[in-house]
Amino acid sequence: MSMSVVTLPLLRKSVDVRKGNWSLATCVALFLGSMAVAASLGAVTLPLDTTVRLLVKGIAGLPIDSEERAQAAIVYLIRFPRVLAAAMVGAALALSGVVMQGLFRNPLADAGIIGVSSGGALGGVLIISTGLAATSSVALPCATFAGALCTAFAVYFFSTRRGRTPLTTLLLVGIAVNSVLASLTSLILSLSPDYEISRQMLFWLMGGLDGRGWTHVQMALPFVFCGVLPVLLLSRDLNVLLLGEETAMSLGVNVELVRRILLALSALLAGAAVAVSGTIGFVGLVVPHMMRLLVGPDHRLLIPAAAVGGATFLVWCDLLARTLVATEEIRLGILTACVGGPFFLHLLLREERRQRGEG
C-alpha cells in the first residue's frame, strides 16, 4: 500500500453517512441552542425568552422600554457580539485545522502547533506598533493574514517533500517556527517606545474575547467569508488529496495548485481568528477530531460539521471563561489549552503506537 501511514486515521473510520447527517443536524441544533444560552448568561442572567426578545428588538431596531435599556444594552451591544465573535473564531480555527490536517495528511496539524497563529500574531503586533491598526479596520486582519500566510508557506516548504509531511518533521518545524516568531514578537514589544501601544499589544496577544464587540465581528467577517466559501467548494478535492498524490493526479486534480490554495485558505482563516482574539490554541486540533468521530472522514460532511462544532466549542469555552469565577475572567486560551493539551498528547501517543505497530 503506497498510501502514507499517517493518512490512514483520516480515512480509516467509515461512518454511515445517514448517521453522519443526523449528527450534523444535531450539531446545528446544539449550536443555535448554545448561542441563546450564552447570550442569556453572564453578569446579569436573564431568562431565555427575555434574552431572545431583547435580542430581536435590538437587531431589528425596535424601540425598547426605558426600564429594559440596561439589559438590552448588555445583551445586544455587549454579550451577543461577543458570542458571535466566539462562534466566528471557533469556526475559523476549526476549519483551518481540518484543512491543514487534510493538506499535510497529518492528524496533528493545527494553526497553533505549526506556528501559523504565531505568524499571524507577529503580523498583528507589527501593524499595531506602527499605529496603522488604529486608523483602519482592515489593517489588522490583513496583517495577521499576511503573517499567517508567510508562516504557512514557510512551514510547508521546510516540512513537505514530494507531497509527504512526516509527523516529527512537521512538529519540529513547528517548534522552530514558533520560537523564532515568538522572539521576534517579544523584540517588537520591547522596542516599542510608546507605553500605551505596548499595553494594547500585550492585551491583544494574551488571547481572549474580553472587550470584543460588533466592530470586531465586522472587521473579521469578510475574511472569514472569503475563507469559508472556497473551503466548502474544495471539500471534494480534499477528499481526493487524501487518497494520495498519484491517485489524485489520475483523477484530474491539479495537486500542487489545490494544495497551495488550501494552504492560503487555512492561513486566511487562522489569520482572521487571530485578528479578533489573539492566539487561542488547540481549537483546530480538538474539534476536527471530535467531528470525525461524529460524522466520519468525508470532507463534504466534515467541513460544515467542523465549522459548526468549532463555533459551539468556543462559544461554550468563552461562556465558561466569563462566568466560572464571578467578577473575574479566566483567559480563554487557558480553557482551550486545558482541553487541548491532553488531547494533543493522546493523539501523539496513538500515532506513535500505530507507527510502531505498522512499521
Binding site: 453517512v17 453572564g42 425596535l62 425598547i64 466548502l232
Partner: protein
C-alpha cells in the same frame, strides 16, 4: 471510495454562507427607544480607575457612588481603604458588570482597557475619560474634571487649592536647602524619568531626579551598571508597611556597595499607596519625600 447522500451537509454549508452574508449586510446600531433623561448631578457613579476612586470619595457622598475599582479597598495600593469599604460594589473593567450596576456616569482613565471603553461608549451611558496622569497639573485637571462631571465643582476647586497650598508650603521650606541627587527605584530595576508625577514630586520635595541625567522618559529599566555610574545620594523605593524587602535587597547587594546612597544607608521606603497615587494624595507623597530628603527642615516630631 464513494460517498452518498451528503445533501444535508450542503444545506448546512449554505446556511453558513447565508449567515455570513447576513453578517455582511447587517449594520449594528444604537438601541432605539426612549432614553431616561440624563440625571444631573449623577447618582450612580461607577469608577474604573483607582485615582478616580480616591478623588470621588473626596468629592461625592458615598451614597452617590455605585462602584469603585477592585483596588480601592486594597491597602497595598489604595489611600482610601476605610472609605472604600463603605461602597457596596467593587468592579474591574468589564463592560457587562459595569452596565449591570445601571450607572449614570462611568469614569475611566487613559489606562482603562481601550476595547472596554469603546464598548461602553456604544451604550450611551455618560462616560468621563480622565487624561494621562503625567504631571501634578494633570492630576489637578482630573480633579476639576470629575468635580464638573458630578456637579461638585466647588469642592473640586477647594481640593485643588488645598493641594496647591500644601505643595507651595513644602517648596518654600526646602527652597534654601541643598538638593540631593535622588533616584526612585522600583522592583525589576524600573526608574521614573521625565513626564512622570514621581519626577515632579521629587523636584517639589527639593531633590534632583538623577533618572533625568540618564535621559529616562517615563518608565525605563535601568541596568545595575548604570545605577552605579549614576551614583545617586538617596534612593527611594516603594513598599508595603512593615515589608522592606526591596530596601534590604539593595543595601545587601555587593555590586552596589560603591553607590553613595547604599554606602551611607540612605535608601528609604515610601508607602506604596503614596508612591503610585495620581490623586490629591500626591501631596502626602511629596511631604513624605521632603521629610526623607530634608530631615533638618522637617523635625521628626512634626506630624500633620
Amino acid at each position: 471510495m464513494r460517498f452518498h447522500g451528503v445533501r444535508p451537509a450542503r444545506w448546512v454549508g449554505g446556511g453558513l454562507i447565508i449567515l455570513l452574508v447576513a453578517g455582511f449586510v447587517y449594520r449594528p446600531h444604537r438601541l432605539r427607544g426612549d432614553l431616561t433623561p440624563p440625571v444631573f448631578p449623577p447618582q450612580r457613579i461607577v469608577s474604573l480607575s483607582l485615582a478616580a476612586d480616591e478623588i470621588l470619595l473626596a468629592l461625592a457622598p458615598p451614597e452617590r457612588i455605585a462602584a469603585l475599582t477592585y483596588l480601592a479597598d486594597d491597602p497595598r495600593v489604595s489611600n482610601v481603604v476605610a472609605e472604600a469599604r463603605r461602597i457596596p460594589h467593587k468592579v474591574r473593567a468589564n463592560a457587562e458588570y459595569v452596565l449591570a450596576l445601571q450607572p449614570d456616569l462611568i469614569i475611566v482613565s487613559a489606562y482603562t482597557n481601550a476595547a472596554v471603553k469603546a464598548l461602553l461608549r456604544t451604550t450611551g451611558v455618560p462616560l468621563l475619560e480622565l487624561g494621562q496622569f503625567a504631571s501634578l497639573a494633570a492630576v489637578e485637571q482630573n480633579i476639576l474634571a470629575i468635580g464638573q462631571a458630578i456637579g461638585e465643582a466647588d469642592k473640586a476647586h477647594a481640593l485643588v487649592a488645598m493641594m496647591q497650598r500644601r505643595l507651595q508650603e513644602v517648596r518654600q521650606r526646602v527652597a534654601a536647602a541643598p538638593r540631593p541627587r535622588v533616584l526612585y527605584y522600583s522592583a525589576g530595576g524600573f526608574v521614573l524619568g521625565k513626564g512622570t508625577t514621581m519626577d515632579e514630586m521629587i523636584a517639589s520635595a527639593g531633590g534632583r531626579n538623577v533618572a533625568l541625567e540618564a535621559g529616562v522618559e517615563r518608565a525605563k529599566k535601568l541596568s545595575q551598571e548604570r545605577l552605579v555610574v549614576l551614583n545617586p545620594s538617596v534612593i527611594l523605593v516603594s513598599g508595603e508597611e512593615g515589608q522592606e524587602g526591596l530596601r534590604e535587597l539593595l543595601l545587601a547587594d555587593p555590586a552596589l556597595q560603591e553607590v553613595e546612597a547604599i554606602r551611607t544607608g540612605r535608601v528609604h521606603t515610601i508607602p506604596r499607596p503614596y508612591a503610585s497615587t495620581v490623586s490629591q494624595y500626591v501631596v502626602k507623597c511629596v511631604e513624605a519625600i521632603a521629610k526623607i530628603l530634608h530631615p533638618e527642615v522637617f523635625p521628626p516630631m512634626e506630624e500633620r
